[in-house]
Amino acid sequence: MQEVLINTDILTEENIPEKTKKGIAALSTVGLTVTFDSRPAISDVNISFLKNKVTSIIGPSGCGKSTLLRSFNYMHDLIPKSEVTGKIIVLGKNINEYDSVGLRKKVGMVFQKPNPFPTLSVFENVVAGLKYTGNNKKSELEEICENVLKLSGLWDEVKDRLKVSALALSGGQQQRLCIARTLAVSPDIILMDEPTSALDPISTSKIEESIFHLKQNYTLIIVTHNMQQAARVSDYTAYMYLGKLIELASTRKIFTSPSEKLTEEYITGKFG
Amino acid sequence: MFFALSIIFVVLLIIYEMFIDSSQSREKFGFGFIFSSDWEPVKEEFGALTFIYGTVVSSLIALAIALPISIGVAVFLSEIAGKTVGTSIGFLIEILAAIPSIIYGFWGIFVLAPYMRESFQPFLQNYLGFIPLFQGTPFGFGMMTAGIILAIMITPIISSITRDVLKAIPVSQREAAYALGATKWEAIKMALLNAKSGILGATVLGLGRAVGETMAVTMVIGNRAQIKTSLFEPAYSMASVIANEFAEASGQMHISSLIEVGLILFGVTFIINSLARFLIFSVTRKADMK
């Protein structure tokens, strides 16, 4: 039973598992600590995310899931008095070899609440990341737009409404639009921070469906506090508690026979 | 970034320029400028005391009238009026703050000053004439009218900031007061006491506006350089003397002295406004942190 993907104990500076037994890590961290106002929100996190797999991060509210996720695309830059220490390896390179724009092109992000740009149309939203970084070829943009809308399962619903304001779409459609927008800049890794927590069950299932298709080409890291969702969509699941990574294992193992007592308590609903 | 710096540059340049352009007067009169009430362009004798006096007294009158009314308005807007009434009256008061001062002055000349001369001041004289402040001929144009028009002009400022400060006080505090058996007014009184540094800030900001106000005062204060006890008498303010004499100043020394008056005006409003911002900032920041 070698189900445990990465035993955090054996992870050190020297042996970051670029190649693990199960595949290649698209993103991994060593001793990652993030502090706000010198109070740690997560501390000493060692974790790896496998390429072309879906990994869920679960844990009670406030345990640092978003903080962890946001350190993967320099989102903490925006917050004064935040500090990130430790090592993050993204696609085989140390994160500080990327500038923020370059990193964010490789590591896209979908947020908790759908946040399309309100002054732009559906089409403009999808291609914003390309257009505002210099790609202005209309035919190319149109082609990409169609592709990514298909990938996010929205194409059929909006193909006749590309020119209308993005705010005219329903909440669930807006979120899929945001996914399409992220796909358009062709990242390798997609971070999703509770992408369905603001949506109804039907929209949620549509998004979960597209997540399922996306993992063929992308590495997905999804924060959720809905355990059923983690069980449904992810290959691996990480459990966090009070700023620490407690356990990372295949989803099946986490939900059937977790190694850690804390994980078990959470899964069985003793707290959280 | 460059533009952000340009605004700092502008303010520094204003100070620098007024300093340089007033050097002639500053060298000749020194600090005596502030304490002398001579203002005789022909003899080239200049002192700003009468203008400082006019500005200070008219502003104080304005505050004395505007403060209680503004607090009443703020309480009305934040605690008494319903949403619709509150927003519409709030809107009217905002407009009141936006009306150009030239219009207040114009209205002052044709409506307020005659009314003061014919009704209000004789009335005061009848009943309170034993007080030296209300003796002498009711001119209409003078210190009191200037104070009243300034009061009308600063009420919107003081009341809208006071309203914001009151709104920043958590509802829970008022609920706690009610729970202890307070009447509505007693609960409001507690809120006002808690907001007092913010209200002080609003008041000081209103004072700053009154001190710098030019056109409305110029049009009703009577523009006579004198210091009199009676509030009915004409007076002169710092801003008014600049407005009236600058374009037609008789010589270098005259201009330089007017600019020195401007420099004093700048210094005073600068101190007043910094104080006000500090007071308001300290209250709203406390509210943010809760």
Partner: protein
């Protein structure tokens, strides 16, 4: 015990209730007193102004005293030109400063800039007039539209800055994050996403600044001065509505007073309409769906 426990003495309930009623009524009266001058000034100006507000007012030049008719077209065009000149640099600087203060908030520099903006907005407008005089009129050796426009531009900056800052702060942080997460640079994000989302609010801020500048009189008295004739040369004295109102208002002629009232009515209408627009736009902002 604390003060509030003593305050809410159960025994004097009757007396406390009476005080409650009196104080609350006083607040309502205060609100009424604050609104009355507005209504009075508005209707008085409308009454006095509308009668001489005709086609000529907007199209004809002023006539010398004694001749009937004539208008203020030179002053109207003058005001437009002066505001245009001022807006040319005042609006961009104001917006860019607002962006800096809002999007780079937290840094020491942005706090300094915010403070300086507050200082600038507290400087009496007549002092800005002196500044423009020293910077432009003195070297040119004559009054000019350029100097007046410069003064108005400086006066616009703080208004535009503040509203830009406020409107940008209303843009949800997640929009900025979404844009940055797409690999769009910070500057492009501000320009293409944040600014664009806040644009309607910023436009109202600009309108507000224009309305305020349109009524400014004091800083024009000795910069653009005034002109009874048609002139569009920027290096010559130029007429403006408020200065014209002032000159007419302090003249002894009834005919001129009526003209001035008409001008005053035009100014009040501008203020009223602009504030109404601002109200509507900002309300939509607060209840916006984003």
């Amino acid at each position: 015990m604390r003060k509030e426990d003593l305050l809410f003495d159960k025994k004097n309930l009757r007396k406390r209730k009476i005080i409650n009623t009196i104080m609350l009524s006083l607040c309502i009266i205060a609100a009424a007193m604050a609104v009355v001058p507005l209504i009075y000034i508005f209707f008085y100006t409308a009454g006095a102004g509308l009668t001489s507000l005709n086609f000529d007012f907007f199209t004809a030049l002023p006539k010398p005293f004694g001749e009937d008719g004539g208008g203020m077209v030179n002053a109207i065009v003058g005001t437009v030109i002066l505001i245009g000149l001022g807006g040319l640099f005042g609006i961009p600087i104001g917006i860019l400063t607002g962006i800096y203060v809002s999007e780079y908030s937290g840094s020491l520099m942005s706090n300094v800039v915010k403070f300086i903006t507050d200082v600038l907005s507290g400087i009496p407008s007549i002092v800005i007039g002196i500044f423009a005089y020293g910077l432009i009129v003195l070297p040119m050796q004559r009054f000019s539209a350029l100097a007046g426009g410069f003064a108005l531009g400086i006066l616009m900056i703080p208004t535009v800055t503040r509203i830009t800052e406020e409107m940008l702060k209303l843009v949800p942080q997640t929009l900025r994050e979404a844009s940055l997460a797409l690999g769009i640079s910070r500057w492009k994000t501000t320009l293409r996403i944040t600014l664009r989302t806040a644009s309607s609010g910023i436009i109202t801020g600009v309108l507000l600044a224009i309305a305020r500048a349109a009524g400014e009189t004091a800083p024009l008295l000795f910069t653009s001065f005034g002109n009874s004739f048609w002139s569009t040369s920027l290096d010559q004295p130029m007429a403006s509505i408020p200065v014209q109102i002032f000159n007419y208002a302090i003249s002894p002629y009834d005919e001129w007073h009526r003209k001035a009232w008409a001008g005053a009515f035009v100014l009040i209408s501008i203020v009223f309409i602009v504030n109404l627009i601002v109200r509507v736009v900002t309300r939509n902002k607060y209840s916006g769906s984003v």
